[in-house]
């Protein structure tokens, strides 16, 4: 009897090339990352160290001291203590990251020595929509954070802010704007107590 559906070859016979190429390309990408990863990390570290003094707005040559803190959940996180000429803490810079609209957002948050006020914000990396979500990297949006108290939490609004804890979102990029505020809130929340504890144990 004739059949309308001729027998199809098995899935493996159809897809063997895709599987083989996926393995080959995966190996190539792993080799690329292994080779270039350290250099990319070094580029990011250099940029971080270049930006840190500008975030805390220190006059003169500031010293940057990496400090590893234990978080409440037992994890460790590295933060940067900016030391002024007289040896006092000029401020802290907290590396942070979280999900943006399209990809991960990496940023640095500058705060006062007592973690009570935000001194500045810098977006290290983001891949949100160009000329829309990417506007979170620019001064009109980032400048709003400067001088904000860290308590209560920052809230993103779509109209003109009416309180000191409000940030106006970038028009058409509410998700990107909210993502940054949430990353900042979460990072400060998790690091505020460990930093204050570190200060109490390591005066000045």
């Amino acid at each position: 009897m004739m059949t309308d559906n001729p027998r199809q070859p098995g899935s493996l016979r159809q897809a063997w090339l895709v599987i083989l190429l996926a393995l080959l390309y995966g190996g190539a990408l792993a080799a690329t990352q292994t080779t270039l990863g350290p250099r990319i990390a070094e580029n990011q570290r250099r940029e971080t160290y270049r930006v840190i003094p500008t975030l805390v707005a220190v006059d003169g040559a500031a010293k940057v001291q990496p400090v590893t803190l234990a978080l409440a959940d037992g994890k460790k996180q590295e933060v940067f203590r900016v030391v002024a000429d007289d040896g006092a803490t000029a401020g802290w810079v907290l590396p942070a990251h979280g999900q943006g609209f399209q990809d991960r957002i990496d940023l640095l948050i500058g705060v006062t020595p007592d973690v009570a006020t935000i001194l500045g914000l810098y977006i290290l990396d983001q891949k949100d929509t160009p000329n829309l979500g990417s506007l979170i990297t620019e001064e009109p949006y980032l400048g709003q954070y400067r001088g904000m108290p860290t308590d209560p939490k920052i809230v993103v609004v779509t109209s003109a802010p009416t309180t000191t804890c409000q940030i106006r979102s970038v028009t058409g990029a509410t998700i990107s704007s909210t993502s940054v505020a949430e990353i900042v809130n979460r990072t400060i929340e998790s690091l505020k107590t460990p930093i204050r504890r570190w200060r109490a144990e390591n005066k000045p």
Binding site: L17, L21, L29, T32, I40, Q102, Q126
Partner: protein, 213 residues
């Protein structure tokens, strides 16, 4: 390979002007409009796209006899994505500032229609040498188009070319030319110019053909 398909030299020549991906095929408009505010990002994008295009064309051509019709687009995408990721990592390692300036446009090479169309039109049906020549020709055509747009936009918008000041200080920088509207103005004008030149050449060829001996 059927005899009606273009030769390697024809593929190479066609990519540069007669089938220029930007001015004749209107493909790859996203990077064309987005990164041509200045020559440096435009040329970085041109070289990055050239690497991906040539490498993907070569790879697809080498495995063309193994391609299943219903899986070919998946394999094209897989191949292009791999080369794009390698390019992106390379830029982040060796041209960090430029990589940051180009932002998502390097990863977006994955969806550049020029590359997938060359895989489909040439690499999936012709040998590696022809596919290589096609990739080089199309890459040169793409680079020429980006360079022409970036030249107009950078000179009028910033008074410079490759960062070197060309116009006098008195030049009132037309900032709009390095912004998004300037990309559309410049592309529209250059497309019009390309069409005008093309029509003139066709008319001249027709006149020559009709001339009595």
């Amino acid at each position: 390979m059927s005899s009606s398909e273009p030769t390697a030299m024809e593929r190479f020549i066609n990519g540069i002007l007669p089938e220029n991906p930007i001015y004749r095929q209107l493909l790859g408009m996203c990077p064309t409009l987005a990164v041509t505010g200045a020559m440096k990002p435009a040329m970085t994008m041109a070289v990055s796209t050239a690497f991906v295009l040539i490498a993907a064309n070569l790879m697809i051509s080498l495995i063309r006899r193994l391609l299943k019709p219903h899986l070919r687009i998946l394999i094209f995408t897989l191949t292009i994505a791999t080369f794009v990721t390698i390019t992106d990592r390379f830029l982040a390692a060796y041209l960090y500032e430029m990589s940051k300036a180009l932002g998502p446009y390097v990863p977006l090479i994955i969806v550049n229609c020029i590359i997938i169309s060359r895989c489909e039109i040439c690499a999936a049906t012709q040998g590696p040498f022809t596919a290589f020549c096609d990739g080089v020709g199309m890459s040169l055509g793409f680079a020429l188009a980006l360079a022409s747009l970036a030249t107009v936009r950078e000179i009028l918008g910033s008074g410079s070319w490759f960062g070197i000041m060309l116009l006098p200080k008195e030049w009132p920088h037309w900032t709009i030319m390095i912004l998004s509207p300037g990309a559309f103005f410049a592309l529209g004008l250059l497309l019009g110019l390309a069409n005008w030149i093309s029509r003139r050449r066709q008319e001249a060829a027709a006149r020559q053909a009709n001339e009595p001996y």
